[in-house]
Symmetry: D3
Subunit: 252 residues, 6 copies
């Protein structure tokens, strides 16, 4: 199967980190491409940044949809493009937060998310609520490192900071599983798993593996209501490709 | 005070409906301008449509911010631009759903939202959850009329359809207050209020009145965490105006 | 418009504090009278005190209703008289806790209430639950000063104590907006707003402003169920004025 | 032990119904007195009625406390006097709604309350929420008979109406236990139990039995926080007996 | 009445502790027998231990049912045998956790459970959720003593450890009532009650007293749905006594 | 990888249905064995039946653990053996309800479970609550067919009955995904998927696929708290194999 991963920010470093992961955990028969949209902020750390990336993330999807079987939106937020794209396709689309959170629910009584800085706290709390699993979330903890720093800082320091917060989550908050809340942290999953002795999930790997089993079992998102195709409507000053995805039978 | 209302869709008919309302309920000292963004779908009835309107709604805000004291995002969804804009301004910004829902909470034990078609059901349920008032929401009911039809159909038919659903909400679902869940329905508030004998709220009027009292009492959104200014970051292929709103002190 | 404010306790000092506020924030066309009921405890800090003030608060309302357009019950509890009065009038009635809590919900992701002493904790938790916004409440914090002390103590000390608790609420509990949980604290709203850099709400001002917009938009409480007029019934050993407010058509 | 039952309304018919119950289910060593307060409405069906009965219910308690070991507030609401009295005594005080609801929780997966008319719906929903057992409440159903009618109407008709609603609660709402939501219905508990084949609880009997076991096991309400004794304060125009119950050590 | 107490573990020391309690608090007319099942772990501290005790606890019930009026499953978990037995009997069956938790709800705004070690935390959290009273539970605290140690350790040390945790629950977590979360702690109820000044409940006494009033008021579990008798089915390699309790009318 | 599926009931027909599924959806490298425990009821439809199967399900696990990499408990309940086994192993163990419910959460806004008869309603509601996803569950519907009938009845009738209930779930309850709530229904997943046009999940396939990706990503249940190994304790009248799984370092 062929999976398109859209990393909604413009960081080529992040794209490389993601690509490294695919060779380890994807099935041999799974082919994964990682791209950034044409226009995007360097990193995403809040709603404004996310908002700037939404339209071009959708555009990237529209341009490339026909060559792929499934799609990952590789931002650890409840990125709105995920939902917009589900409306206009019959192929499965997963976000990396969602993927790791639901797997975490099966691996322990409670999970915690370790993420970058405080800007992410309310957004992730909202995501957990939207996925309907608030009672399974022990805490959302931040290491106080901005996402841009994740690219630059010494690996060892970053890993230590994550380990510290994860340890507090396990000992004080009652977490039993850790979700790494940023694509930039994903490279540490197995090392931390060994150190902490609990499952440590990289949402990108989770999304790949879930899309593989969706493919094998023939699953895709329900199109009956929430993700049903939107009715045709005129678009002012938007490229025609954006209106081609509407339901063909125009209402009169 | 001067309020800028951004109707995130491109419907000039809706803009006119909104403008009619301002003359009746705004204070004489309140000056209200209603605009659509440069690029937008004709109507918004789902996440995909909303997604296409977000960046240009933000752009409209950035272009016009300096001339206004407060802002209304006039789409009866939990429109993401509302939150993105709150991050980059110190002036108050309200959505029309939020405004009518919180006022409804004060006017009766429970409220119902009457909206257009089923596409809106899950979105509004999500909005109610986000505002934290699920236990006050008796139901979300749809009249089965697409938003485009609201523009064209005979007023009397539309009003009758809303009245019918509102009556079920009051008698069967336990609602005591009605929120009109679409700018296109807003002209019926007072007629329905008389017919039904309960408060019927137009979110646009609610937003105007709330912004007026925010102004008088000197209130604006908290900037301490969720809506704090995003840190500077490079933007790839985005106009420079979008990066000017970032926090000036660039991180090194 | 004319607003009657009933402060359910007997503290003339509190009444003066309230009167000071009205001149600053009410519209010029709004006329506000502040009274205490004939019989009441000096301050209210628990259910017993509240219970002693209910009947006379209602009586004050019945005696003065005809001269006013709207009513404030100026105790920062979910004072039962508010609900009793809503049943017997068609004019709007607001409590000051309710007014500030719903406005707070619109100004930040979460709010905290800073109140006097521990007696108020469970009562306010209950109020927040009743208003249906538990998920928006970061914490209820007490300064450990009895209400009577608020009257007597040095302003500076009291303000410092409030500031301390508010700071903890903002930094540790995740609050983004502060509600001052006692009429005796209300004078500090703007000073604390400046110091803390977040919205600080005085429930009395909030109630005035909300009643003003209810008036302008023609809103009052729904009378359809919860606040419908009670049926006539005989009253044993109660003054006749209490039975005059019942629904006239006596059931046979 | 000696239990004082205060029926907060003035209906001597209700008092008689209650007295009939005591002889059947109370232990021989339990002595129960049933009284109404000096001033009260004939029946209570809403907050206004309840509000008029609170002060005199408390007064009745203060006048008679010393002769009794435990107290029942015999109104099937979350009557505020219950909480006020708990603050000023060290003896146990139970409401009849609370008593039957917690016992119902132990006897089946879910319970329903069958009560008189729609005025009671929101009040009981609130009570269930306050007791913290919303997830155990299948429904609150009303027979559409005012409380006054319960006194006068033919027993058979009333019983049939309760049976009908209870049957719907069991078959459609998923209830497994029935709580009779009005002292005026309490006489039907055992007959309905036989007809419906499920536990049918009279809150008054439940309260008696629970107070008996509180007595035998030496239990009373916690005085540590919510029900701690209120501090002394001056009372304006209230009889001195109301201030005698305050905490003796006057604050200076 | 005759109550059979099945302590699902094999600790004769625990059985003795339980027997000591019955003589103090049971009515003279109540006869209580305490037994362990034939096969069981020495103590129960987790699901595995509980799982090993379930079948033999049911077997003990089946063997002895006819001689008793009511049954206690004396393990402070939400022991599955309680529910299994309710399906096959018309006589009341109570667990000791459930009994103390619901009584605690009536004695204060919130309760805490003090139990042995961390293995119990998630199980009790789950039990509290199942009983539907999460909002009444302030905390579940552990003394860090394994159950086996409760048998052997110096009484004074154990009591001190419980007192410490209970004090934190009262001062920091907002508890107002304490439930002793282990049969091995039950002997300390009254001493701790005196020391702490709040109700301290032993679940075994609570269960006895509740079953006594069920008996006096003629109550037993609803058999309408959750606890309805299971249909006959063949049992492979299970003693015939286990199939005799099925609904007689075999389905064809 | 090698997966052991323990079907906790004794139905060889069910085992055959399960085996048929494995050949279609498991990876070629996955080897799956399906067994029933030595002693068990013919079908499980309630807590009593489940209770009789727990010990022997655990015993089957203990006897066969060393030859397998992962385990499925193939009963669509929240079968207690799943949790007991997780405590005594480091290999992953999944129930089929859990597996299909979490996958359903990712495929649509809400899911419904279609199961056999009313006995299952409360058990599944409880399971959904335990998995923490109540807000994602639209409804639990029953076809009114006992599990034994599923074995015998004409396939077409059963399928029609499921289709009917699923249609109501989609149209009236707001479901967007269907979970088949019984191993006996699992053969209909793809046919119903085509008919209904929404994802229809067989929990057994879901469990296989999830265990495959757990294996590939190196995941297993967290052993830190809830599923930590139980301490050694003596077992009375239980085979020695049951005590060998305890934590070796015996406490002294």
């Amino acid at each position: 199967m062929k999976i398109l991963t859209i990393n909604p920010n413009a960081s080529e470093i992040f794209n490389e980190l993601l690509r490294n992961k695919t060779s380890i955990y994807a099935l041999p028969s799974t082919n994964i491409k990682v791209v950034s949209p044409k226009s995007a902020p360097q990193v995403i750390e809040g709603i404004y940044d996310e908002a700037l990336s939404i339209k071009s993330t959708i555009e990237t999807f529209i341009d490339l949809e026909k060559d792929f079987d499934a799609f990952i939106i590789a931002c650890f937020s409840d990125h709105l493009a995920t939902y917009a794209i589900r409306e206009i396709t019959r192929k499965p689309v997963l976000g990396i937060a969602e993927a790791s959170i639901y797997l975490a629910c099966m691996l322990g009584e409670k999970f915690s998310i370790i993420t970058t800085n405080d800007r992410w706290g309310p957004l992730l709390k909202e995501a957990v609520r939207k996925y309907g699993v608030e009672t399974k979330c022990a805490s959302i903890r931040t290491v106080g490192i901005s996402i841009s720093d994740l690219e630059e800082r010494d690996n060892k320091n970053v890993k230590k900071a994550i380990e510290n917060e994860a340890t507090i989550a396990l000992c004080k908050d009652g977490a039993e599983v850790i979700c790494l809340g940023c694509a930039g942290m994903s490279r540490f999953d197995k090392e931390l798993n060994k150190k902490l002795g609990v499952p440590v999930l990289d949402g990108f790997v989770c999304a790949i593996k879930l899309l593989e089993i969706f493919h094998q079992y023939g699953l895709t998102h329900s199109k009956i209501n929430t993700y049903s195709k939107p009715l045709y409507k005129e678009l002012t000053n938007l490229q025609s490709k954006f209106s081609k995805v509407y339901k063909k039978s125009k209402k009169k």
